[in-house]
């Protein structure tokens, strides 16, 4: 039989035709590849979270091949000499084995932990970007709520992962969680016994947290992340205000090739950073803590940062048990159940609260610059201040020790800062926003500061300003050639250039570090300078 001749060059086209005959995907595929992504660094923050999540899945899968979540007591007999002969749970022993007796296990564990921290940090920073630019407004309220869900799930997922090695620190954290569950009115003791399978610690909690950590919560995270992305594609990106940017378009790069190259490269860089962190920077050295024992604790026991703010709130909350009719609401209930519940509820409802408060029912695809919505920016910074005071208070014992401050003074400072800080932050932020607006208006009215001083015949010194007119495409006025404008440019809540451009400075600087890599552009006369400045922007979209 004669084999058909295979021409390798034709294979991709044939393969594509084969698939398209069955899927009719050419149109949708092209539409996907032509999706336009706006170009601003702050849009990378959510990507960091996504890439960290992928790294978490990869490294986490490796770890599951070696981790054994059983709480059965065993005697350690691995490579780490100081713990040999010590009784510990199988979970802790296998975590030690991953660190010492599995080839490459330690770096996987450390990359996994660093990636978890980066995942949570990126979510928080991404959330701040979305908040401060008003990206959560209609029509994107749903995606904001999904994002809050991802934040909460990430927190629980991180805590579960922190708990399952069953070292002294993670056991201490679990004991506090058991106290928190106990504190819930009416059902506390029953809920704690249901979750732990009896009195703390029992021998079920690590296997239960393990299945939550590797199956249930990751499954939910994958589902929510998919929904988050699907809504993003469906509703298209928001974009920051700027020249040519309207409510009806998206300006940027097509997904292929521009965005794909950038995003792929960026993924590699995020992964590379995590690999370097995991290789060089020790994190959670569980072998130093020893196995969890109910009577063991050490000073300076801090949870990971995304739980740290709750540790801080627990430290600051005063000793206020409520007891009546023979029942108790323990003090710890308020800072660990009510507070995070309120924080996440308010956060999730924020788009609706804001819309109701300012009676804004419009559709928004253009973002706002934080300075142009001073009250929201100020509220955001106040909330951030509140959380930061809590987070710092979560480490107040370490600060007290390192800086030789009284621990009690740190606690009181935290309590006072928690109440006084946010209003102060609100006031200061509001002023800064107004100041930045003012700065933009001033630049629009007088042009860009050049730093060049001119002495007039009668002795007066003035600074030369580079005119800006035409810079936003609406104002048709022309400068008088001395850096003063006959008409002010209108304030449009879009970025205003603050740096003198090449035309204003005379000769352009020449690209190239050691030697020029391009022929210098011929020097232009000052008459052309004005012309260029005015016209250049209009040639841009």
């Amino acid at each position: 039989m004669k084999l058909p001749k295979i021409k390798p060059a034709e294979l991709p086209a044939k393969g594509a035709a084969w698939a398209d005959d069955r899927l009719a995907a050419a149109g949708p595929l092209r539409r996907m590849m032509n999706k336009v992504f706006p170009d601003h660094w702050s849009f990378l923050l959510g990507e960091i979270a996504l890439y960290s999540f992928i790294v978490l899945l990869l490294t986490g899968t490796f770890l599951t091949l070696f981790f054994d979540p059983s709480m059965t007591e065993v005697v350690y007999d691995g490579s780490y000499a100081p713990l040999r002969g010590v009784e510990m749970s199988q979970a802790y022993a296998s975590s030690l084995d991953i660190s010492f007796d599995v080839r490459g296990g330690l770096i996987m564990r450390q990359i996994h932990h660093w990636a978890a921290l980066l995942f949570m940090a990126a979510i928080v920073v991404h959330m701040l970007r979305v908040f401060f630019t008003g990206a959560f407004r209609r029509p994107r309220e749903l995606n904001w709520i999904i994002g809050i869900g991802l934040l909460v799930l990430g927190l629980v997922e991180g805590f579960a992962g922190y708990s399952i090695p069953d070292d002294a620190l993670s056991g201490t954290g679990l004991r506090i969680v058991s106290a928190i569950i106990l504190s819930i009115p009416l059902v506390g003791s029953w809920a704690a016994f249901a979750i732990f399978g009896g009195e703390f610690p029992g021998d079920l909690i690590v296997p239960r947290l393990y299945i939550a950590h590797v199956l249930i919560i990751p499954g939910l995270l994958v589902a929510l992340i998919s929904a988050h992305m699907a809504l993003l594609v469906k509703q298209k990106h928001t974009q920051l205000p700027g020249r040519g940017h309207t409510e009806k378009n998206v300006v940027g790069h097509r997904m292929v090739p521009g965005f794909a190259a950038k995003a792929g490269g960026f993924f590699m860089m995020v992964f590379a950073m995590l690999a370097l962190l995991g290789g060089w920077f020790q994190i959670n050295p569980i072998w130093l803590f020893g196995p969890y024992k109910g009577e063991v604790v050490s000073a300076g026991s801090q949870p990971d940062f995304y739980v740290g703010w709750l540790d801080g709130s627990t430290r600051l909350w005063p000793a206020w048990d409520i007891t009546a009719f023979g029942y108790t609401i323990p003090a710890i209930f308020w800072p660990t159940v009510v507070l995070p519940g309120a924080v996440f509820t308010i956060a999730a409802l924020w788009p609706f609260l804001e819309a109701k408060f300012i009676k804004d029912r419009a559709h928004h695809n253009l973002l706002q610059r934080p300075r142009d919505v001073p009250w929201r920016t100020a509220i955001g910074v106040a909330a951030l201040t509140f959380m930061m005071v809590l987070l710092i208070s979560g480490g107040n014992d370490v600060i007290a020790e390192k800086f030789n401050i009284s621990l009690n003074a740190m606690t009181w400072a935290g309590r006072i800062a928690l109440i006084a800080g946010p209003p102060l932050a609100y006031f200061i932020t509001h002023r800064i926003c107004l100041g930045l607006q003012q700065y933009d208006r001033q630049t629009l009215a007088h042009g860009i500061e050049t730093g060049m001083i001119k002495r007039l015949p009668h002795g007066e010194f003035t600074e030369i300003h580079q005119p800006l007119v035409g810079g936003n495409g609406h104002n048709g006025g022309h400068g008088d050639g001395h850096g003063h404008l006959d008409a002010e440019a209108a304030y449009e809540q879009i970025p205003v250039p603050k740096k003198m451009n090449k035309f204003g400075a005379g000769g352009p600087s020449t690209p190239g570090f050691f030697k020029p890599i391009e022929k210098p552009v011929p020097h232009k006369s000052s008459a052309m300078v004005v012309e260029e400045t005015v016209n250049a922007p209009n040639s841009l979209p």
Binding site: D20, N34, P257, M268, L276, V296, D321, A331
Partner: protein, 358 residues
């Protein structure tokens, strides 16, 4: 996209006002732009970084070489990773050794390999790929009114199609039948429920149980110098394990000078043995061991949330979030001279809960 399907679209699509796809003068980029146009994307600016018709300039060659170097570096580092992973001394040995470099070297190799791809791709985009600005139209907002009407009718018509309104018997039967299915789905979770019983009120101590150290050895008064403390456990099987994580107790031997300053409620007057006092080690706030003993001020500090307890005042909380004193264990000495508990704690140890008697 094959030429055939493209030409079909070009002639068949009434919406098409663009180019003729079969025209031999049409370039590949024209096709790209036309595809983008049909997807509502206008490529408004498209400028190659370098003139591809003229010979490569020095700058272009330099960038090409840099990007090539990035990928070569990736290859080298990735090989290095595999080599280190396979052949470097990795097995942990206590003390200094080449194995301590295993993890950092792996991280470096992996990091460099991935950075090479990252820098290569981003340089490629920024320096070689055409500079581009594309504008995509959005058509957002609600569906068209017609779509709403048609879809709404399709949904509301379900009532007529199933005839649920005409047949109230079915309505009731379905409701009656399906509601318990929800219960059935939830019911197995009931397996989790466990009656707390009196477990939160008891520890491993009972009358006559010895106070033992972690290694199980009993404690005599002489074993503890004045001013010293010792963590003790109930001398029962498993008493020193996490099975009795509620039982760890702090045995404190006060110095005579401090002991005379002790002010304690008469309720607990006979709980101590001479200058030996035993308090639950489990913090009444969140259950951490409140074990940092400051001899000068006679305070116990819980390192988790900094609650402080005054040893000379029955371990009452004097700072921090804890609200209740550490429970005191009544102790005595048995006929052989070892410490024993005369009973269990008189109140629940550890964190509070709803039904805890206040």
């Amino acid at each position: 996209m094959s030429q055939g399907s493209a030409s079909n679209r070009g002639s068949g699509d009434p919406d098409s006002t663009g180019i003729n796809l079969d025209d031999p003068a049409v370039t590949e980029f024209d096709l790209v732009a036309e595809g983008a146009r049909r997807d509502g994307v206008e490529i408004v600016r498209y400028r190659p970084r370098f003139d591809t018709d003229s010979p490569k300039s020095a700058a272009e060659k330099r960038i090409e070489r840099t990007i090539a170097l990035c990928f070569v570096l990736t290859g080298v580092a990735a090989f290095a990773f595999v080599g280190i992973f396979g052949f470097w001394e990795w097995k942990y040995q206590f003390g200094a050794g080449a194995d301590k470099w295993f993890t950092p070297l792996l991280g470096t190799a992996m990091g460099v390999a991935l950075l090479g791809i990252g820098f290569g791709l981003i340089l490629w985009h920024k320096k070689l790929m055409p500079e581009e600005v594309a504008i995509q139209d959005r058509h957002d907002g609600a569906s068209s009114d017609e779509d709403r009407v048609l879809t709404g009718a399709t949904i509301t018509h379900l009532a007529a199609e199933t005839g649920i309104k005409r047949r109230p018997l079915l309505k009731g039967a379905v409701a009656f039948g399906l509601a318990p299915v929800g219960l059935m789905a939830v019911a197995p979770l009931g397996a989790l429920i466990k009656d707390p019983g009196n477990e939160l009120y008891t520890t491993g101590f009972t009358g006559g149980v010895r106070l033992v150290r972690l290694d199980g050895s009993p404690v005599r008064p002489d074993d503890l110098a004045a001013g010293g403390i010792e963590t003790v456990f109930p001398g029962i099987p498993g008493g020193t394990t996490n099975e009795h994580a509620d039982s760890p107790t702090l045995l404190i031997h006060l110095r005579e000078a401090d002991a005379v300053k002790v002010r304690i409620s008469p309720k607990y007057a006979d709980f101590h043995y001479e200058n030996y006092y035993a308090y639950s080690k489990i913090c009444t706030h969140a259950g951490c061991p409140a074990s940092l003993y400051e001899q000068q001020t006679q305070r116990l500090l819980c390192p988790c949330h900094q609650s402080q307890f005054d040893v000379l005042r029955g371990c009452k909380p004097i700072f921090g979030p804890a609200t209740r004193a550490l429970p005191q264990l009544p102790i005595s000495v048995d006929s052989q001279g070892f410490f024993i508990a005369t009973s269990d704690y008189k109140e629940p140890i550890g964190p509070a809960f709803w039904e805890r008697p206040s």
